[in-house]
């Protein structure tokens, strides 16, 4: 396969992924209130769908085009007014300025995101190893001697709950149990691994969509863990009071970009949701998952069936 062919197929992937994720981001934005009413699991499933489906469908589109070309059913002979999406006659893509500029911009954006992601993982993993060595085991949690207010679960292979000594000493026994139950729910839900997968898919998301998807996913995840902690401890008020107690430990140097930044409304929303025992939205999430899967399969089927006209559409529009 020539470099031009690779560029042509890469362009199709980028354009499909960005267009679909833009549509997904728009749908997510328009349906956010409905999703909030359904519950955090529904919000989470919707956010995951917007992250994953565009990338999968874009990959299917490219795979279909490559396969079509490999099987010799492309139509290079019939059209010579645009660049060809085939594995042998793709050189013309390199001469299409607009196509190459689009590919360069999108490729640079994805590359930058990927580098930032890998760097943040490497830096975070090293910090966690250091924190593990510096913290002391206190049964359910690892206490870090620090006057910063924080509590989080981390560690890809052996997840551990890290709590600052300031938080641990400020919370009551009941609040500590609620906090531990919340963090264990993150481990139980596989949030650490899911976050990695989500971030990888979001590398290919359209600009601005990734932030929205991530924020919704994180916020919903926290509320799911709140609900889980309330169920496990049997006392929702302890979960709510632990949240408020942590916010009371505010310092002149606020902790930035941890999970999500709760505004007063968001914190109030979380507290009210856990106190009222609002639905988690598992049923809607299951229905949503089935609907997205069915729709995706239909699109994949349509892409394969209509690969010939689709092939020409991509060549005409992009080449």
């Amino acid at each position: 396969m020539s470099l031009g062919s690779v560029a042509g197929f890469a362009l199709v992937f980028v354009v499909c992924a960005w267009a679909l994720s833009s549509i997904g981001g728009l749908v997510l934005h328009r349906s956010r209130r409905w999703l909030q009413r359904q519950g955090p699991m529904a919000e989470r499933r919707a956010a995951e769908a917007v992250a994953v489906v565009p990338v999968v469908l874009a990959a299917v589109a490219v795979a279909t085009l490559v396969l079509q070309s490999a099987l010799g059913v492309d139509h290079c002979e019939a059209h010579d007014h645009h660049a060809h999406l085939c594995i042998t006659h793709g050189a013309a893509w390199l001469e299409r300025t607009s196509a190459m500029v689009t590919l360069a911009v999108a490729g640079a954006a994805m590359l930058v995101r990927l580098v930032l992601l890998v760097t943040s993982f490497a830096r975070g993993a090293r910090s966690i190893r250091e924190l593990h060595a510096l913290s002391r085991d206190a049964g359910d949690v690892r206490i870090v001697d620090s006057d910063r207010p924080f509590c989080f679960v981390a560690g890809p292979t052996r997840p551990a709950i890290y709590v600052s000594s300031r938080v641990w000493s400020a919370l009551s026994e009941a609040e500590r149990s609620a906090l531990v139950a919340h963090e264990r729910a993150h481990v139980r839900h596989g949030d650490l691994y899911l976050r990695v997968a989500l971030e990888v898919f979001l590398v290919a998301a359209a600009p601005l969509v990734g932030d929205r998807v991530r924020a919704m996913w994180l916020h919903a995840g926290e509320r799911l863990c709140d609900a889980h902690a309330a169920t496990v401890t049997g006392e929702p008020a302890n979960v709510a009071s632990a949240m408020v107690a942590l916010c009371r430990l505010n310092t002149p140097r606020p902790v930035a970009s941890l999970g999500f930044t709760p505004t007063a409304d968001e914190l109030a929303g979380r507290v009210q949701a856990v106190l009222e025992g609002r639905p988690t939205g598992h049923r809607t999430a299951a229905r949503l998952g089935r609907a997205v899967l069915t729709a995706s399969l239909i699109v994949v089927g349509a892409t394969i069936v209509a690969s010939e006209p689709l092939h020409h559409v991509f060549e005409t529009l992009l080449g």
Binding site: L131, D145, A154, P156, H186, R248, A256, P262
Partner: protein
């Protein structure tokens, strides 16, 4: 120039033993440190380790005849504080958060009235139950 974070990274086992020794007894020479740490480590190993700690700005040294006398540049509590801060900073401030899931972020925009209102809500909920 070494950065703050590299200078305060968690120390290796021998480095930590040397620091522990110097927090108990200082200033001391490499030879004295060797004697205190026992025969498990060669003189050159201890010398290299102490030199490395000096380069990390964890030890200070002054000339005493042909040898150097080493002493800690900070006490144990200050070291512990710095090294914890160095480990926390990438996680809490520099965007290395994909590796963790936080209970709640402590933000600076929550005022007393809001928190008091939420506490009243929680208290009411407890009373109703």
């Amino acid at each position: 120039m070494r950065t703050f974070s590299t200078a305060t990274r968690v120390l290796g086992e021998l480095e930590m033993r040397v620091m522990e020794l110097l927090w108990q007894e200082s200033p001391i020479s490499v030879r004295t440190a060797c004697e205190r740490l026992g025969s498990a480590h060669a003189y050159t190993t201890i010398m290299t380790t102490m030199d490395r700690l000096h380069k990390k700005r964890l030890l200070r040294r002054k000339k005493d005849g042909n040898a150097f006398l080493y002493e800690p540049a900070m006490d144990r509590a200050a070291y512990q504080h710095r090294v914890v801060e160095a480990a926390l900073t990438p996680l809490l401030e520099q965007g290395a958060t994909p590796v963790l899931a936080a209970f709640i972020e402590v933000a600076g925009n929550l005022d007393e009235d809001h928190l008091a209102e939420l506490e009243r809500l929680i208290a009411n909920h407890r009373r109703r139950r």
